[in-house]
Subunit: 721 residues, 2 copies
């Protein structure tokens, strides 16, 4: 059998309706192709026939095109854009006729991206208004309106007011100039730097469209492990071309700035941020950038971390480095996003503590247009980490969240893991910074510290050249979910799952009821089969593909698995209490109180904070060893459950997506077993206890697992080493 | 404006017909979406309603699917596959009813890939038979039949017998295991080695389909600059998966074999081809391969060339190396394709002579299952080269042609160059090997030497992850054309151009009449604006992007441009006559006679064979300098003409393809000027003559052009250096 044969079925389906589209994975959640019953189709059709768009901008053209696509693909009709007796008016609030405007609560337009969708009655007839202060707000309102149709909502008396809670909602592309993507598992970079600026690929427009539809308003085009070459004049012409394409979609471009660029490009002897020539070089470069890109967003900088240059090289602090650039960007309203992901090989201090120690004392010292960009946890995007203790510890600094959407440590290209569940866990965590209820969401959206001028959330993109953008069809949900949570960090993972499933596949309740829990539970599954009970960073070295709890030969102690799990004959886990590194002291007292007792700490964080005896009695009455094995097996079982659920989903999704997901779940199941087997065999050397009876016979020896090598695993390239 | 807006137009088009498809660049020449008038649609529909496919193989399923796609997409109908009163019967000759069989000239089925499409009359009714000896021949017959419909041919009394003239019609993928493609300008490798064997991408099936449709029956999956890792057991499982997918499409897989694999994988101290342990290692590896892939095609080997290991390292000859592997492959009917592309840095001999000197003496020494794979010219895939003198010089050896489909030296990803015109020039060249008319086509298809057991043609693929496969929409024509000329090396470039244009876009004669000459002339254009009059290899170093006649600092003399053009105050060009390297002596006397006189040699090869004074009087009465400038300008003008023609093609092609091609032609025009300007300024230093009046003012200095750097040009990667 081959996959083409399935086309026959598809084509026959084509014939069974006059004009219907299949779900298209290229079009993400915007294919407008879910099944729709005739009644609803008629209702919707009757309400959107005549639309007036009162703006003559490029954004207005985009709105028009999007609505026409919706009408054509979802409703099999076309819209007339007219100013006579429209059913819908899309206009900036200032352009609305006063008779309409007075029926709208324009006070609720709290910022330039807020919008109102409201049905008003004029001469006994319904009129739907989509309005806001700017063209972009109209675009956001339009996508929100379209979503109501995608979700099959009643639009007869619609009334929605919405506004992003976070200002900078940004994708970070770890894309290199040679087209490779660090930690990319969806092919290669979508930026064709070589053919830019002359060749404007369609994918650039599609990318902007997809992001605009979920409210993402910024993109850092290149890798944080940066290459100064992006700042040369020919490359700035390429960047300008992208910026021009993205602008009408409300998306600003940002670049990473290699701190040593004044040496590499400017041929200066130093990159000392206090050196006048260095400052002049940056000033002139920034002036050049803004001449080409007047709304350039600013710089993202990884400094003095993992070999990147930075101000410390010249005896200067992160503050001095960040503020130098921020001062130069200020006249242009540009920002500096300065990453807090720093840890030093010179330090013997617990890596989990270093960023806090380095940055917390700087609170209040950064300029107002500096955001300190902090990863969600203190190590590095693990399946589960406690939250980063900097959240709540820098009240006078704009802290920006950095989530990873690409699944570096979470199964990479082949595991179905719904990340909004992870983001939700982090965002809803209470830091007690201003008493109970001081969630991380409230810190990064500015609610807790009203004087923060700028708020932001970054997601390391999972986008590549794969036809469906993200490789795994379900990884699209993580891009979507990041956008939704960046718009409103209190958005629940469950509501995102339902929305994304409905918009991408079908609103059929049988499908949604089965698939929502599959998505929601998928994150706990990966924790269980990779790193249960607070284990972390025991992946293979460098490419981080597959288990590697035995990794012990990397050049830096904190690049080795044994640094993190500390297995020995006594037990397992990293003592981060007072008897150990005392990383716990970086957290607020409410958390310290709960976590400093091995019997009250949530077991999910047990091995993160404690070195626990193998025979420690867990809450379930069994030993640590037995319980850990139970979780590994539970993770495997959960993937099996996902497979079984998926088998019943064939009627709801197109055959390509069905087959792709089926094959990928098979790989995930096999790799979950690999994780369980390799980790249990490895840790058993120390625990010296038999495998519990529920663990199936392991087909290989530990040496077999240790010998597996993957020199061409994606996301890392020999040239970067 | 943005490109989405064009979708509205497209969607409106959708509505204007009941069910029609746009041209889809993903589907290559197989979209079955050209406009078709109603009369022809009715005629075709009436003739293909009922088809009997008398084979129950996977290939039979593919035939069925393909015909159903044709019916659905081109004719808006569906086929019933039936054994009662079929209008078409597709069956192997042995499975045909004898009453039908007797009306078919089965003698004309000269090999297992031959097919017959013939209308016979049974009970006064027409019956169309598609037959051959094998399932694959039926697939080829089906694609040929489908092509008649795509070309809007009259099929009422169709009678076609066809057969490939060359046995091995093979794509060479220079794809690395990390996903990069050496000399790839269409994205990255389509082989997702990491997710194989578990994840069978749809593109693998689409790739097989496209190749089968043009008769390509083999694919070398990995780079000739080889990595032994492909021969490890886990990778062979991945290769097996691809082989299983490709098999029902008649495509065999081949691999490149790194000659030092016994050292790298087998941990042997040597890779000496006469060493017993080495032989045993290969024997065992080959046995392992055939256990997984019973119809594995064999090995392609680049040995002792550009740093690749080979038998010379151990004092053994190419014959000893090739025959060792051929002996081991023989029991499995596997072949060795041994590349003749060798030149040594130890030799001071003209690089153009070295392959001939090395291989010609071995004529008759290779085993029968060895093919010596020879590039079309003696240097390296230049816009124009004289033919490789080995053709005609090794009558007792199977010589396989190696063409490059990817445009390493011909504008890479952004230049429209129709290569079948180049291939035609080579294939129709007379070698006089057995008297006048001994064309290269007759050498490689075996006509000239009937005792050659195996014949073959290889093309270095231009395929990558770009949505349209080849990056430039018109580069698809080069893949298509290679397939057609590998099937029959006497196929004219013009007929290929017309076929491809018709199948891909429209049969509209206004379109075909304008676009055919554009394609045909495009090859001479690139010769003119890059390397007129026999100039060669004056591209930039390493990535070969853009002009670099000044390149002089590469580690090997023959990697420098100055080695090839030899410009000095006296003149320009490489003296390869008796007074110089005498490469001319490697050619037959008929050619020597014509070429050894500077006044009778075709001017297209002048600077390849002569160092010509700047003021040499050319046939046009002007000096060399003036004439060379004229050709450079002519090349630029030709690109301008292509642009002007293309502007009128908008009604015939879909908007994406129109816009993409328009932007790419703009780049090509700009780069043609770059070539002209940089080369004329450079050579003017030696010629010391003014630029002719027809050359527009050059906006930059020579230093400007020399300073341009492209460290991230595609197709080459730092890690390979």
């Amino acid at each position: 059998m081959n996959r083409y044969n399935s086309l026959i079925g598809l084509l026959i389906l084509f014939f069974s309706c006059n004009f219907c589209f299949s779900q298209s994975s290229e079009e993400l959640w915007l294919s407008y192709s879910q099944p729709l019953n005739n009644k609803l189709k008629e209702t919707y059709t009757s309400k959107i026939k005549h639309i007036q768009i009162k703006t003559f901008s490029e954004t207005g053209e985009i709105i028009k095109t999007e609505l026409q696509m919706l009408a054509t693909k979802m409703l099999d009709t076309s819209i007339s854009f007219t100013s006579t007796t429209p059913q819908i008016i899309i206009a900036k609030i200032d352009n609305l006729d006063s008779k309409f405007k007075q029926k709208i609560n324009s006070q609720s337009l709290v910022n330039n991206e807020s919008f109102i969708i409201q049905t008003i009655t004029v001469h006994q007839k319904d009129l739907l208004i989509i309005t806001g202060k700017t063209d972009i707000s109209l675009l956001y309102g339009t996508y929100c309106f379209i979503k109501q149709l995608q979700l099959h909502k009643d639009i007869s008396s619609i009334s929605i007011t919405d506004s992003p809670k976070i200002q900078l909602r940004i994708l970070n592309h770890w894309d290199n100039l040679d087209g490779t993507v660090e930690r990319g598992y969806a092919g290669f970079s979508i930026w064709d730097w070589h053919l830019l600026p002359g060749f404007k690929k369609e994918i650039y427009y599609e990318y902007a469209r997809a992001n605009a539809s979920i409210g993402i308003n910024g993109t850092v085009l290149n890798n944080v492990n940066s290459n100064a070459y992006i700042l040369t004049s020919p490359y700035l012409q390429k960047v300008k071309t992208l910026a021009d394409i993205f602008r009408p979609y409300g998306i600003k471009v940002y670049l990473t700035a290699r701190f040593s660029a004044p040496i590499e490009l400017g041929k200066l002897p130093t990159a000392d941020p206090l050196n006048e020539e260095v400052i002049q070089w940056w000033k002139s470069k920034i002036s050049e950038i803004y001449k080409e890109i007047p709304d350039f967003g600013g710089f993202l900088i990884k400094a003095n971390s993992e070999g990147q240059p930075g101000p410390n090289t010249y005896g200067r602090s992160h503050v001095e480095g960040a503020n130098m650039l921020a001062t130069l960007l200020e006249p242009y309203q540009g920002v500096v996003m300065w990453r807090a992901f720093v840890y030093s090989e010179q330090q013997s201090e617990d890596r989990a503590k270093q960023a806090f120690n380095e940055f917390a004392p700087f609170d209040g010292a950064f300029k107002e247009n500096v955001l300190v960009q902090v990863k969600n946890g203190p190590i590095d995007f693990q399946p589960r980490e406690p939250y980063h203790p900097l959240f709540g510890a820098m009240p006078k600094t704009s802290l920006m969240m950095e989530f990873q959407i690409t699944q570096e440590y979470l199964g990479q290209g082949s595991h179905l893991v719904f990340l909004p569940k992870l983001y939700e866990e982090v965002l809803s965590t209470d830091t007690y910074a201003k008493g109970k209820g001081s969630t991380i969401a409230k810190i990064i959206d500015g609610e807790l510290y009203q004087d923060h001028r700028i708020t932001g959330m970054a997601g390391v993109a999972n986008i590549g050249t794969e036809t469906n953008w993200t490789g795994h069809p379900f990884a699209q949900a993580n891009w979507y979910g990041f956008g939704r949570q960046a718009w409103d960090p209190t958005t629940s993972a469950e509501s995102i799952a339902k929305e994304w499933l409905s918009m991408t596949f079908t609103t059929d309740s049988l499908f949604i009821q089965q698939m929502t829990p599959l998505l929601i539970n998928s994150r706990e599954a990966v924790v269980n089969y990779m790193t249960p009970l607070g284990l972390h960073h025991i992946m293979n070295a460098e490419h981080h593909y597959g288990p590697g709890p035995w990794i012990a030969n990397m050049s830096r102690p904190d690049w080795n698995s044994i640094y993190y799990h500390r297995a020995d004959s006594l037990g397992l886990g990293f003592d981060r209490t007072q008897t150990g590194s005392n990383a716990l002291e970086q957290y607020p007292k409410e958390i310290q109180e709960q976590f400093s007792n091995i019997h009250t700490i949530p077991e999910a964080y047990l091995l993160w904070f404690y070195h626990v005896p193998w025979d420690f009695k867990m809450k379930n009455g069994h030993t640590l060893w037995y319980t850990m094995a139970w979780y590994y097996q539970q993770g495997v079982n959960e993937v099996k459950n996902m497979q079984q659920t998926w088998e019943h989903m064939q009627p709801y999704v197109n055959n390509d997506i069905y087959q792709d997901t089926r094959m990928l779940l098979e790989i995930q199941y096999s790799e979950a077993q690999w994780w369980r087997n390799a980790c249990l065999l490895y840790f058993q050397q120390f625990a010296k206890m038999p495998l519990p009876e529920f663990i199936p016979e392991i087909p290989h020896t530990l040496d077999y697992y240790k010998a597996l090598k993957f020199p061409y695993a994606p996301g890392i390239h020999p040239s970067w080493n």
